[in-house]
Symmetry: C2
Subunit: 144 residues, 2 copies
């Protein structure tokens, strides 16, 4: 049984890339946070531990890790946020009222993906969708 960190390290190397201390640090931070964070939040944490790490490196690392799907990026109230990709696909319902984020399983979306493939020959990459809307309490507050 491998830790998540070890699996990620292996994935990076298998793809022919290098596991640098900077990349490890950013993964550690995101792992410890255990929630989504903005680039700036991550950069600040990096700074507090290793002030030598450059801002550009943080941005490049975040983009890199998204490309190889170690991280996923989403948009919550206009800001780009990053988190470690969960091995089991899931989605986020973001309430535009209270900003609360609900995690949602995948089954609703499999149907949709199947439709898109059948009818449009499009292989949708629905791993981590972020859907905005209003949760029940906020809906009640808005109409009340």
């Amino acid at each position: 049984m491998m830790s998540q960190q070890q699996e990620i390290a292996q994935r990076i190397r298998e793809l022919g890339f290098r596991l640098t201390p900077q990349r490890q640090l950013i993964l550690d931070i995101l792992s410890a946070l255990d929630r989504h964070a903005t680039a700036t939040e991550i950069y600040d944490q990096v700074q507090s531990v290793s002030p030598a790490v450059n801002r550009a490196t943080v941005y490049r690392t975040l983009n890199f890790l998204c490309e190889i799907r170690v991280l996923v990026a989403g948009t919550i109230s206009g800001k780009t946020v990053y988190e470690i990709a969960d091995p089991t696909p899931h989605h986020h319902l973001v309430c535009t009222g209270c900003k609360h984020v609900t995690v949602l399983g995948d089954h609703h979306f499999e149907e949709l993906a199947a439709h898109l493939l059948d009818e449009h020959d499009f292989q949708a990459d629905i791993d981590h969708l972020t859907i905005h809307g209003l949760c029940q309490p906020c809906r009640a507050a808005a109409s009340g």
Copy 2:
């Protein structure tokens, strides 16, 4: 019969906001373009017509018009793009291979929205979703 521009003007005023020349100009540009554009593209066009308009104004206007749903924002290959909100909801399939954008009707998503409301008490705001994936030609190229 009102023009789209007139409807938008009315909407802005009904909500208690003001219709300024800057806002009109940006709406005119987006309307003439008739496709999505980045903030920079829009700013450049604004400059060529009215060099006095400030860059900050363009950004603020774009955000403002999104908030009142006159515009919709999406992300295409990492860049934020804006376009005038179509009165009939539709969605975009963006191919991560060739970057081609397919416009899609709403019916696949109504079902999904219904599920989310029934089972999660969440009123999903699925007006303009951007779904990434691979189109048929790119899929063939990738596996071939």
